[in-house]
């Protein structure tokens, strides 16, 4: 093992030791919160991308940049604030900033540029920011209820909406927190960015697909709620889970079609 590999290994061990409480908190949230359990997949995909990009790193010059220490110091301050009570989110952001700072310190700007995409992807494994989540939850629940009621009415099915409750032919469906669409939105956004990366060389496509994922996820979630309202058999158990999964796969297929469409428009515009 070369001295450089040793330094990289020691830095990794030091980061894990410094951020152990944060890593444990993130792991517990992935384990206990079904809105965030996709966090387990993010590091796996990040490592796969790092491996996939190995050819780009071959022959890359090492040019340590002292600005990395400034970034590490800022991250340490953020982690300290997290430990004082700013919460898990602050600590997790500090962890990502520390990793970026370490790459800059040890490898330099060229290395940071090569590893930028997997590092940005790590945003998807950050814990919930409670302030934002709590503000978004109820509006999203009501939006899903309204759209689902609209879909049912459009389909000729009588529905009465009371806030987040839909009364459809003798049974009632509640759009609770877990139905607010976040569970579609987060994995679909993650998938959009990863899909754009593997299927398209144009960096703007990642942003376009990410933007397209938001309305698709919200609409698909409302369709899922409407389906549960329309067919009582889909209200719970295995049929409900299968229906939710099936509609999500349709979302993924829609996003793939969008990518082809955007690509065709782009090619036509270029020619």
């Amino acid at each position: 093992m070369s001295w450089r590999q040793t330094v990289v290994g020691l830095t990794a061990v030091a980061l894990v030791a410094c951020y152990a409480p944060t890593l444990r908190g993130m792991f517990e949230q992935w384990l206990n919160d079904e809105d965030m359990s996709h966090g387990f997949l993010v590091p796996i995909v990040m490592l796969w991308i790092v491996w996939r990009e190995r050819a780009r790193r071959r022959g890359l010059e090492t040019d340590p940049n002292w600005w990395g220490f400034a970034i590490l110091t800022a991250a340490a301050g953020l982690q300290f604030a997290g430990l004082l009570g700013a919460g898990l989110f602050a600590g997790s952001v500090a962890l990502l900033v520390s990793v970026a700072g370490s790459v800059l310190c040890l490898g330099g700007l060229a290395w940071l540029r090569v590893l930028a995409f997997p590092l940005v992807l790590a945003i998807f494994m950050l814990p919930k920011l409670a302030v934002v989540y709590n503000q978004a939850t109820l509006p999203l629940q009501l939006l899903a209820s309204r759209i689902a009621a609209g879909i049912l009415t459009f389909g000729g099915i009588g529905v009465i909406r009371e806030g987040n409750i839909l009364a459809v032919s003798g049974h009632r469906v509640a759009v609770v927190e877990a139905c607010n669409g976040i569970r579609y939105l987060l994995p679909l956004s993650f998938m959009a960015v990863v899909f754009a990366y593997v299927s398209d060389s144009k960096p703007w496509m990642r942003l376009v697909l990410l933007a397209a994922a938001v309305p698709i996820a919200i609409l698909a979630n409302a369709v899922r709620v409407a389906a549960a309202g329309w067919v009582p058999a889909l209200e719970g158990g295995v049929p409900h889970a299968v229906c939710g999964l099936f509609i999500f796969v349709l979302c993924v297929a829609t996003l793939m079609l969008f990518r082809q469409l955007f690509n065709k428009v782009y090619v036509r515009y270029q020619s």
Binding site: Q29, W30, L31, N32, D33, E34, D35, M36, S37, H38, F40, L41, V45, P127, K128, A130, Y133, N134, T137, G163, N164, I165, L166, H171, R172, V173, A174, V175, V176, E177, A178, C179, G181, R183, Y184, L186, P187, L188, F190, M191, V194, F195, V198, S199, N221, R224, V225, A228, E235, G236, H240, A241, G244, L245, F248, V249, V252, A253, M256
Partner: protein
């Protein structure tokens, strides 16, 4: 792959070990349930069903003789099979809550405190003056269980505030005698009382008033059964781990198809 399987198995086991208290499907539809009588004065609104069993007397509500200013959005069940079933389920939920493993003991007044998910026990009475905050720390499934050996009394204008994803459907107050909510107070959670429950004038309850043996007395109150369990079926989406894995599988299939198409075109 084996490690991932082990991780998934371990997470499933961990989740199953965290036993959760839940109301039975019948009692969950009730906003108010009493053992002897339900008495109301003033324009009370109960979202959900209202019932009594084994007693029969319900007074002060539109839809049941002699009528009254109170309204019930669901059905009124007086000493019928539905109310009896709800009482059976209430007893089961009461016993489950009473038997939950205690995480902390509390005494005196809970006002001004912020509590995290857990099981809190009091060996005598408990009170709430001012604000009690229940912080779920971002876990929408987190439960708060209060085991109170004697009475629960809340002061005038006191409130129970739910933050960070805390849900009234996941707050249970198991009370060994009676509960009294103060005038203009705001309260959250399901009250499972062995004896009676009294709501002061204008008190707002986001939860249920469920009394096993005694009466429920209401005075111009608003009782809202928590969304998602009050007779309506919640429709949660699958976990993001399952959806994320499905999305990655789709990308894999798409990429394989593209590669095969390219190879086919080359040949």
């Amino acid at each position: 792959m084996n490690k991932l399987t082990a991780l998934l198995l371990w997470s499933t086991l961990s989740l199953s070990l965290n036993a959760q208290i839940s109301l039975g499907p019948t009692v969950a539809t009730f906003g108010v349930l009493a053992g002897s009588t339900v008495t109301n004065s003033g324009p009370t609104v109960v979202t959900g069903n209202l019932g009594v069993s084994p007693g029969t007397a319900i007074t002060g509500f539109t839809g049941i003789a002699p009528g009254g200013p109170g309204t019930v959005t669901g059905t009124i069940d007086s000493a019928n099979a539905t109310a009896a079933q709800a009482q059976t389920e209430l007893t089961a939920a009461y016993n489950s809550a009473a038997g939950a493993a205690v995480t902390a003991t509390k005494a005196g007044d809970l006002g001004g405190q912020t509590l995290f998910p857990g099981v809190y026990m009091s060996t005598s009475t408990l009170g709430i003056t001012g604000t009690l905050t229940l912080d779920a720390q971002g876990n929408a499934n987190a439960q708060f269980i209060f085991q109170i050996a004697s009475a629960l009394t809340t002061a005038t204008s006191s409130s129970v505030v739910l933050i960070n994803g805390a849900n009234a459907a996941n707050v249970f107050w198991q009370i060994g005698s009676s509960a009294t909510l103060g005038t203009s107070s705001t309260f959250a959670g399901d009250i499972l009382a062995l004896s009676s429950i009294s709501l002061g004038t204008g008190a707002v309850l986001s939860g249920r008033a469920l009394a096993r043996n005694g009466a429920v007395t209401l005075l111009s109150n608003t009782i809202t059964t928590p969304a998602g369990s009050g007779g309506a079926t919640p429709t949660p989406a699958p976990s993001t781990l399952i959806l994320g894995a499905a999305a990655l599988a789709c990308i894999g299939i798409y990429q394989t198809r593209e590669r095969l198409l390219k190879a086919f075109r080359r040949n």
